[in-house]
Symmetry: C2
Subunit: 143 residues, 2 copies
């Protein structure tokens, strides 16, 4: 039951919430022992704040839940590959695993040759089609 | 009067506030038209939050002051070279100028071959000695 797809669907639901607010539709959840301890979606427009990416909010929220700043034994599920800022935050958090839906060739951290914490496992391509089509549809509608 | 040293001294004062709280002593200010519109210091321990770097807080605070998320015509003065996370946030903010005290060869963005926004001017080495000795003294005292 608790597959990567199960939690990525929740991240996609968060992205839907962003879409409803006309935000760039990116969502994520952080899971510890199969329990969702944080969920967030992009709020840069609503909050007028470039730092309000889904991942940044979820990292703060998960640390608050855990009562400690390191996200050991935690997995982030995110619909789009994290940017430089979010990859830096994930690296500081020492999170155990990051599961990515769609790749972001231009702004994602992977093509910038950045790495996360040495202990962090990275998986890409989970529900890639659904994750990527949500973003693509959004940007097409904006043109 | 409004020299780079003038504002870097304020950033150093912020770093002092961090030091008093036993945080890694890094401080910054954001200036627009010679007016300080945000000042912050590292609070990762107090807030239990890896994202609570001085620069992240100042970016959010400056955008709040300006009522818009882009920090055009703004200058950040920061005692230590920004990390990957903070450089990503600065890049999204399209800030006009970043003035750095001490370099951070290991964790700073420059040696990671990252760049800020194409419009952002970067100056390093302002009050380098004072900025670097504050950090070095802190880490020596921790060993």
């Amino acid at each position: 039951m608790f597959t990567d797809e199960y939690f990525m669907k929740m991240a996609l639901q968060e992205a839907e919430f962003a879409l409803e607010k006309e935000e760039v539709p990116i969502g994520c959840v952080i899971v510890s022992n199969n329990q969702v301890i944080a969920r967030a979606h992009n709020l840069t427009e609503a909050l007028n704040d470039v730092t309000a990416h889904a991942e940044m909010q979820a990292i703060t929220s998960a640390a608050n839940f855990l009562g400690g700043k390191y996200l050991k034994n935690c997995t982030l599920y995110v619909t789009l590959e994290p940017c430089v800022m979010c990859s830096g935050a994930l690296s500081w958090s020492q999170i155990s695993k990051v599961v990515i839906g769609a790749r972001d060739e231009q702004r994602g951290f992977i093509n910038k040759q950045l790495s996360l914490h040495p202990k962090t496992e990275i998986i890409t391509g989970v529900m890639e089609h659904e994750c990527s089509s949500m973003i693509k549809t959004f940007f097409k509608s904006k043109r």
